[in-house]
Structure formats: structure tokens, C-alpha cells
């Protein structure tokens, strides 16, 4: 309260050096972590240095990373989606079951599944905005509903816990090329999901930093009431974010379906936390209004690396979760520190 604004230039906000700016980036901590983990496994596990290892790592990261983009955007917008993990399975199942039951072109199933996925997103968003109930509870409800429905409907229609193989149905080939193909570049086998992952991260980053919608996403997450007061359509932005998660769940579901031909109806449970963890490790604040899509991508890469690295190092894979836990805790602590510096002391 010491500075008088009119008499002399403001002295409360000091000019910031470039170095300081880089250090204060939300994703900086996760980048340091990622490099550290890479070097660590590179040194201790010889097989980790191979091209196959890199390929596998990127693939695992991309399957998590695509969803983490949506979950990070939603988290920046101040909300959670616990149904994101099972929604992927729901998307894959609804495409597969519809195509098989009606023996129609798989693309009919694919489009039906898109409608279902966007519908789930809309349902979550609408309920959160309409009732004011925290999204944690609303999506916990839809998580349970979808988890149950995935199993029950699959059993009802197929008599087993997985959907039938749809690889001989018309249109499967083209869909497989789009959602689940593989190509080789610089001697590394790259799944197409890696390309999509980078693409979605790039689009999300551009949107967040360079568009009106991006501005609004940060605003509704940072302070919904202030945003509403200056004319930001808070409900529309948030519902849109839930539907973005729905869209990406559809995309991930399509990859699973066209890669494995059939879908296990019980899978996907627990993944919602991995998406959230990736976003948080990447510097998104649980409370909203802060974070980046690039950070979430680095978070997903850390997951992919740890997941594969522990296997290549011949450790018990049970340590993956332990490792993730450590990463999450250290990320949250450093985020807290950054936030305290970014906001007022």
C-alpha cells in the first residue's frame, strides 16, 4: 500500500528477466522432471536406448496424452471429469456394438459413437452448470453410470464381457488407417496417435494463447463470477470444455477399437486419474485458471516414459504407480510454490 500511483511510476511490479520468465512457466518443472527421468533410465537400462523403446514410449504417452489435452483444458477451466476414462470405453463399445448388431458400415457406428461421446460431455457440463454441484460429484456419478452400463449393455447384447470382432465389417479398413495405423520415420515405428497427439496439443496451445475462447477458458477457471460480470458466457465455455473431453474420448475410443478389433467392456477404469495426473504434473492447477496444454503433454510423456522405462529396466511394473505418485507430489509442491509467486504473496 505504499506506492502512490499518480505521483511516481509504479514500483510494485518489477520488470522481469527472461530467465525468471522461463523459470516461472507452468510446464518448466515438468520439463526438468522429464529430462531427469529420461537420463535416469537411459543410464540404467540399456534396452531403453533402442528405437523400439522410444517408439513404445511415444505410443503409450500418446494414448494418455490425447485425453490429457482435453482434461487439462477442462482443468484450466476450473472443472474435473472423472468419467473421462470410462467414456473412452463407452465410445469404443457404442461404435462396435452398433456396427455389429446392425451389420452396417462401421462409419455409422463411428458417427453414432461421436454423438454418444459429445452427449456424455454435454450431460456432464449441463448438469454442473445448471445445478452448481461440483463437477467432481457430477462426473463421479456419470463415471459409475458409464462403468456399469459398459458392462451391462455389452453382456446383454453379446453374452460376454467384450464386444465382437468387427474387423470383417465394411469400412473397417479405412477407419483403421485413420485411427490406428503405423508408419516408419527415421527408423522409428510411429503410431498415428502420436501425430494426432502433437496436433491436438498444438491446436490447444494456439487456442489457449491466441484466441478469445482461450482467454475465456483461463478466465472462467480463474474466477467465474468476475468473468460473468464482464460478459463471458461462463456456462457455454464450460459445457464446451466438457464436450471437448467427450470428443477426445471418442477419438481415443476409436483408436482402441480399430487397433484391437474388439473392446473389453471393463477397461478404462482408473485412467481418468492418469489424465488428471498428467495435467497436474504438467503444471495445471487443480483450482483452475492456470496451466498449459504443452505441460499436460510433458506430463503424459513422463507417464509413458516411466511406464516403459521400468519394464526395460527389468523392475517389477508395480513400481510404475509408486513412481507416478512421487512425480505427482513433487509437481504439486512446485506448482504451489509457483502459484504463490505468480499471485500475490
Amino acid at each position: 500500500m505504499t506506492a502512490t500511483v499518480t505521483e511516481r511510476p509504479d514500483q510494485q511490479v518489477q520488470p522481469v528477466s527472461t530467465m525468471h520468465r522461463i523459470l516461472a512457466r507452468p510446464e518448466f518443472g515438468s520439463l526438468v522432471g522429464a529430462i531427469g527421468i529420461y537420463v535416469f533410465f537411459f543410464v540404467i537400462a540399456e534396452s531403453f536406448r533402442s528405437a523400439e523403446a522410444l517408439s513404445l514410449m511415444l505410443y503409450t504417452s500418446s494414448t494418455i496424452g490425447i485425453m490429457a489435452v482435453g482434461v487439462a483444458l477442462l482443468m484450466i477451466g476450473g472443472e474435473f471429469d472423472l468419467s473421462a476414462g470410462v467414456a473412452v470405453t463407452t465410445s469404443a463399445l457404442s461404435a462396435s456394438l452398433l456396427a455389429y448388431q446392425f451389420t452396417t458400415n462401421v462409419w455409422v457406428g463411428v458417427l453414432f459413437s461421436l454423438a454418444v461421446a459429445l452427449g456424455i460431455g454435454f450431460f456432464n457440463g449441463y448438469l454442473v452448470m445448471r445445478t452448481g454441484i461440483p463437477s467432481f460429484l457430477v462426473t463421479l456419478g456419470s463415471f459409475l453410470m458409464l462403468q456399469g452400463a459398459n458392462l451391462a449393455v455389452t453382456k446383454l447384447l453379446t453374452g460376454q464381457v467384450a464386444s465382437q470382432n468387427i474387423s470383417d465389417i465394411e469400412g473397417f479398413g479405412t477407419a483403421q488407417v485413420i485411427f490406428a495405423s503405423e508408419f516408419t520415420i527415421f527408423g522409428i515405428d510411429v503410431w498415428i496417435t502420436v501425430v494426432y497427439w502433437f496436433l491436438f496439443v498444438a491446436i490447444a496451445t494456439w487456442m489457449l494463447l491466441r484466441t478469445k475462447i482461450g482467454n475465456w477458458i483461463y478466465a472462467v477457471g480463474g474466477d467465474a463470477e468476475s468473468s460473468r460480470a464482464v460478459g463471458v458466457p461462463v456456462a457455454r465455455v464450460k459445457i464446451g470444455l466438457f464436450m471437448t473431453v467427450g470428443f477426445l474420448a471418442w477419438f481415443s475410443g476409436m483408436h482402441i477399437l480399430f487397433r484391437f478389433n474388439s473392446v473389453q467392456s471393463g477397461q478404462g477404469v482408473g485412467n481418468e486419474f492418469i489424465y488428471i495426473i498428467a495435467a497436474v504434473i504438467g503444471g495445471c492447477l487443480l483450482t483452475g485458471g492456470y496451466g498449459t496444454a504443452v505441460g499436460a503433454a510433458i506430463g503424459a510423456f513422463i507417464y509413458g516414459m516411466t511406464n516403459q522405462g521400468i519394464v526395460f529396466a527389468n523392475w517389477n511394473p508395480d513400481w510404475v504407480k509408486f513412481f507416478l505418485g512421487i512425480m505427482l507430489l513433487s509437481a504439486t509442491v512446485s506448482n504451489l510454490w509457483v502459484r504463490n509467486r505468480a499471485a500475490r504473496s
Binding site: 491466441r210 468473468s227 460478459g231
Partner: protein, 272 residues
């Protein structure tokens, strides 16, 4: 206050005849609770109307009606002479009514310039792919704030780093820049120290010079008397005083504000 302020000033001069905002016998009830009843006030160009009242007097309900957050359900609200029922803050903004709230003026973690343009972003390119005019907006917000004497070395700093008075000024500057004709200020000095309050009050006077109508809500009669042209006192949802600057002294205003006789009794009780 840049080029478009010259056009808006002429526009104001053209219709100085009528009040910008006028309330006639306006009331609002929430269920069976009467929050406001029989409120009549008006704000003209270059006029500061102060609304005073204790906690629970109905000040915030009044703001909500004028700023479009809750529509009124009795009486008539006129904006630029036209009878309206405001449906949202956006609606009010489009009619030139901007509200600066004491507590929810800005998004603390966002950079100053993003806050400045929030809700009214400038864009380039064509639909559906439109991008923000980032450099343009950074420059404009920096220039605008510079004119107010808020000289920020870093326009990208989160606005939460500024002091309370500066944040209020940014919020007011933003409203003026976007062509507001009427400013509703919700207790802008309540949480501020003496010097910071001075900065805000000076800026209120400046807004009046520029031809804006100001509704200044406060519970501080000293602040009100410094800038006000017209004083309205609310008590338990009703108007208990409606006076022009020339017809009332600061002492009278303070006494009325404190509840007149009640204060006398209290002084007597606590006499040492």
C-alpha cells in the same frame, strides 16, 4: 479516452437532455423478502449519484438490478429514456452500463492486458478461424493505464500482483475504454487505504469530467461527499433521503447515514 472518446463525448453532448439511467418506483422481492421497494433515482451525464446505506440496506440488490444480474420486478427502469428489463450483465454492457465490483472486478492469475480486454477481445482474421490481436491489445491497455498514471513495466504480469486501488482503476479504465456511459461502482474504496482511496476518487471525478454518469455505492459519507452531486440513502430496502449536493452538508449526510437519532442515542450511551 483515445480517439473514440471524442466521438462518444459528442454523442453525450447531443442528448444531455435526458438522464442516462432512471429508476421509478423500482422494487425487488426474493420470495417473501422485500429487498427493495419504491426506489426512484436518476443519473445524468457528468453526474455522480451516491447511494449510501448500511449493510443490508439493499445497496447490492440495487446494483444487481442496474447491472443486469437480477431483473427488477416492480416499477420502471429506463436506460437512455427507453423502458427496459435487463436480462444479463452483457445486456447492460451493450446499453453502456458498466459495473465495477469491489471484490470481483478481475481474474487475479491472468495478465493485466488480458484482464483489460476480457469479454471484449479484439480479433483478427475471419470466421471461423479468428486470432487475438495480442500486440495491439497489449499496447492499448498499456497506453490507457499510462494515462491514468498506472505505469506498469510489465503488462504481462498477473493482475493479482497490483495493489487494490490499482486493480480498481484498471477495472474503471476498462469500463470507460469500452464506451461505458454509466459506471456503477460498488464500494470501490471499501477495502482500500487512505491514499489508494484518493486515487480511486480522483479517477471517479475524472470520469465525470469525461461526461459519464456514475452511480457510486458506498457506506462512507466522507468519500461520497467529495465526489457526489446527488445523494440517496437506503435503509432496510427503502429510500430515506434524496438530496442534491447544495441542499445537504457533510455533517447532515453523516448523521443521516449513521441513523440520525440512533447515533445520538448511541453517543449518549457510550459517553465517558
Amino acid at each position: 479516452m483515445t480517439t473514440d472518446s471524442s466521438t462518444s463525448t459528442t454523442a453525450i453532448e447531443q442528448d444531455t437532455a435526458g438522464p442516462l439511467v432512471q429508476l421509478e418506483d423500482v422494487g425487488k422481492t426474493y420470495g417473501n423478502i422485500v429487498a427493495l421497494r419504491g426506489i426512484s433515482l436518476k443519473v445524468g451525464p457528468s453526474e455522480v449519484t451516491c447511494v449510501l446505506g448500511d449493510n443490508g440496506a439493499g445497496k447490492s440488490t440495487l446494483i444487481k438490478i442496474i447491472s443486469g444480474r437480477h431483473p427488477h420486478d416492480e416499477g420502471v427502469l429506463r436506460v437512455h429514456g427507453e423502458e427496459v428489463k435487463l436480462s444479463s450483465p452483457r445486456d447492460a454492457l451493450d446499453r453502456g452500463i458498466a459495473t465495477v465490483y469491489q471484490d470481483l472486478a478481475v481474474v487475479p492469475l491472468m495478465p493485466v492486458w488480458r484482464n483489460f480486454f476480457l469479454g471484449s477481445e479484439e480479433e483478427k482474421w475471419f470466421k471461423p478461424v479468428r486470432a487475438l490481436e495480442v500486440q495491439e491489445m497489449r499496447k492499448k491497455s498499456k497506453d490507457e493505464l499510462h494515462k491514468l498514471g498506472i505505469d506498469l513495466p510489465d503488462i504481462d504480469a498477473p493482475i493479482g500482483k497490483l495493489s487494490g486501488g490499482q486493480r480498481q482503476c484498471v477495472a474503471i479504465a476498462r469500463a470507460v475504454f469500452f464506451g461505458a456511459r454509466v459506471l456503477i461502482l460498488d464500494e470501490p474504496t471499501a477495502a482500500l487505504g487512505v491514499k489508494q482511496s484518493g486515487v480511486v476518487l480522483r479517477y471517479v471525478a475524472q470520469a465525470r469530467e469525461h461526461g459519464l454518469g456514475v452511480v457510486f455505492i458506498t457506506h462512507n459519507p466522507h468519500h461520497a461527499y467529495m465526489v457526489g452531486d446527488h445523494f440517496v440513502l437506503l435503509n432496510r430496502g427503502r429510500m430515506t433521503l434524496d438530496q442534491k449536493y447544495d441542499d445537504i452538508s457533510l455533517d447532515e449526510l453523516t448523521r443521516e447515514m449513521a441513523g440520525g437519532d440512533e447515533l445520538a442515542t448511541l453517543t449518549h450511551e457510550l459517553k465517558r
